[in-house]
């Protein structure tokens, strides 16, 4: 990727201190290796088609997407698109589960590439810093869908809407097509997941085939929608919030439906 890659990295708007690290621990010298590898996945393996990325505003923004694919490759590809295809290039911040931050190496890697602990104070601060924050309001419910439920949005959490209203941040709906077919899950064994303290226990037949441990090389298509602006009281009742969240959810669902209609083939 060479020079153009380094040049892109130098143009990312970051709040770096004199030591070259931002207040959350993001270090571009670390992030470049991760961005390079996800850039390769983005361009060569999943050959992502990106639509409408010019709609993403330059300042603070909440990217709200559909979650899919058993492991969060969708998140990394949205991040890759924001770095490789957006102008100016951005490093997307996402929120990490609290338990992951307690793990050695994992916590270090996440911190250095700009991921932060999933607590509301951090989200508010990042947005005040003018960052792009990626949120999947479906959470585990979305990522662990079985193949028969592909591209059907599950319940959205309300936290992102309260955050958007509180901080006056525009929401950009993001539809990711291609993730649901990378690992085909035929069932979820909830009892076993509970027993093993895992968020989900999917049955994925391809894992038993040599080489099937890698995700299938489906072609990803990512659509960025028009920014949506919401106002009101961030502490309003859930019912009021649900109406606003429903608007975002419906926008993503219709973007997904259109994307699926336009898709001619899963792999190319």
């Amino acid at each position: 990727m060479g020079e153009p890659f380094r040049e892109r990295l130098s143009r990312v708007p970051l709040a770096l201190g004199t030591s070259g690290v931002d207040p959350f621990g993001l270090d571009p010298q670390w992030a470049k290796y991760v961005l390079m590898s996800i850039g390769m996945m983005h361009r060569k393996y999943f050959r992502t088609e990106v639509h409408g990325i010019e709609r993403v505003p330059t300042g603070r923004v909440l990217l709200i997407g559909n979650h899919s694919g058993q492991i969060p490759i969708d998140g990394t590809l949205v991040a890759a698109a924001m770095f490789m295809d957006a102008e100016p290039p951005r490093i997307v911040r996402a929120m990490v589960e609290k338990w992951a931050v307690g793990l050695p190496f994992v916590s270090l890697l996440f911190t250095r590439v700009g991921q932060v602990v999933g607590v509301p104070e951090n989200a508010t601060r990042l947005l005040a810093q003018g960052e792009a924050l990626l949120v999947f309001p479906e959470g585990v419910r979305g990522i662990a869908k079985t193949i028969d439920q592909r591209y059907q949005l599950t319940d959205f959490g309300l936290g992102f809407m309260r955050l958007a209203i509180e901080t006056g941040t525009p929401i950009v709906p993001v539809a990711v097509v291609g993730g649901e077919e990378q690992y085909i899950s035929v069932a979820n064994v909830d009892g076993l997941a509970k027993l093993l303290h895992l968020p989900a226990f999917p049955i994925i037949p391809q894992l038993f085939v040599p080489g099937g441990q890698f995700p299938l090389p489906t072609k990803y298509r990512i659509w960025f929608g028009e920014p949506m602006h919401f106002s009101g009281d961030p502490d309003d009742d859930d019912s009021v919030m649900e109406e606003k969240v429903w608007l975002v959810k419906q926008t993503i669902q219709s973007m997904l439906n259109r994307g699926l209609k336009e898709r001619k083939h899963i792999f190319w």
Binding site: G17, P23, W99
Partner: protein, 333 residues
């Protein structure tokens, strides 16, 4: 809770110098507890230029400036009351918090909590208009689930995994209860991040190690502040009209590895499981003064949001990062 804290403050006692065996100083004075610590001495040297300073500490004050009035008094003794009686105390700065990890927990608790309780009792009785308590950002405790920047309203969870911190949390809470118990006294609680300098506290001693121990796979962001900046913050807190809780942070936060790099020391990176076993053994054999729970400080973040101190207190750190870190070597012995 200390019993005396639950009673309503009695009417101000008459100040009679003749009744006291302790000589007083002329004019309004500031009382500094723990004045013989390195931070206390530094503060005293700054304060005594502008006002009369009365110091209270169990330890002797070597190299004491002539005009500082020092009394070797235990905070828990009745003699402390005589100090209040003999002087016109207009402000109390409480630095006398015991951090010695080797002291027994009973002694620790009695000194920190009962001693501070007595001090509060006299502040109330003699209607001292200003109380500044030096707490610490450690009262929040390092946790993986901490927000990157803790506000003054964050819960004080420091004692959750580190029982020795509990009485420091209690001291902070006692001081907080003073806000509403005695609103006429301007109470200020300062919660500085790791103080570095000639002081012999855990973070400074840790950075004096060579090689510096780190936990493999962790490199948390850290905030440090120079002792001179803490003294400056205390000076600002002593101004009339200032009250409340303030987080005090120094220069920009940096990864722990960067602090070690500034010092030019080697790092010894050890897996947590091994580090905790070895440290426990070394602690038992008195080969180290770092208890095992201190390892959490080099694994997880415990950083503070210091906006309130900047906006309300008018505090900005003056010592840059490099000088702050390098200052630990000035006080090696």
């Amino acid at each position: 809770m200390v019993e005396s804290q639950t009673q309503p403050p009695p009417s101000p006692a008459p100040r009679s110098r003749t009744a006291s065996i302790i000589p007083g100083v002329e004019g309004p004075a500031v009382l500094v507890t723990g004045i013989c610590g390195r931070l206390g001495k530094r503060l005293a040297r700054v304060l005594h230029r502008e006002r009369a300073v009365v110091g209270v500490d169990r330890r002797p004050f070597i190299d004491k400036p002539k005009d500082i009035h020092h009394l070797q008094v235990d905070l828990r003794r009745k003699k402390l009351k005589d100090v209040f009686r003999a002087n016109d105390i207009r402000a109390v700065v409480h630095l006398g918090v015991m951090h010695d990890p080797r002291a027994s927990s009973a002694e620790h608790h009695s000194w920190n909590v009962a001693g501070f309780g007595k001090l509060l009792e006299y502040v109330a009785q003699f209607r001292v208009p200003k109380l500044v308590v030096l707490s610490s950002a450690n009262v929040y405790g390092p946790q993986p689930s901490n927000p990157q920047f803790l506000s003054e309203e964050s819960p004080l969870l420091g004692g959750q995994n580190f029982s020795d911190i509990r009485d420091l949390v209690e001291v902070d809470m006692l001081a907080q209860s003073f806000f509403w118990k005695l609103p006429e006294t301007e109470t200020v609680i300062l919660r500085p991040v790791h103080i570095l300098g000639t002081v012999h506290n855990a973070p400074s001693n840790f950075l004096r190690l060579d090689p510096v121990l780190t936990v493999m796979g962790y490199d948390p962001m850290a905030q440090v502040v120079n002792e001179a900046d803490v003294v400056h913050a205390i000076e600002l807190a002593l101004r009339p009209g200032v009250r409340g809780i303030f987080n005090i942070a120094g220069p920009e936060p940096v990864p722990l590895s960067r602090l070690i790099k500034i010092l030019g020391r080697k790092r010894l990176s050890v897996p947590y499981s091994l580090a905790s076993v070895v440290l426990r053994r070394m602690w038992a054999l008195r080969l180290t003064n770092f208890p095992v729970p201190e390892l959490d400080h080099i694994r997880f973040v415990c950083m503070v949001d210091d906006r309130r101190a900047r906006d309300v207190l008018g505090f900005t750190p003056r010592v840059p990062l490099e000088a702050t870190v390098l200052s630990v070597d000035e006080g090696r012995w």
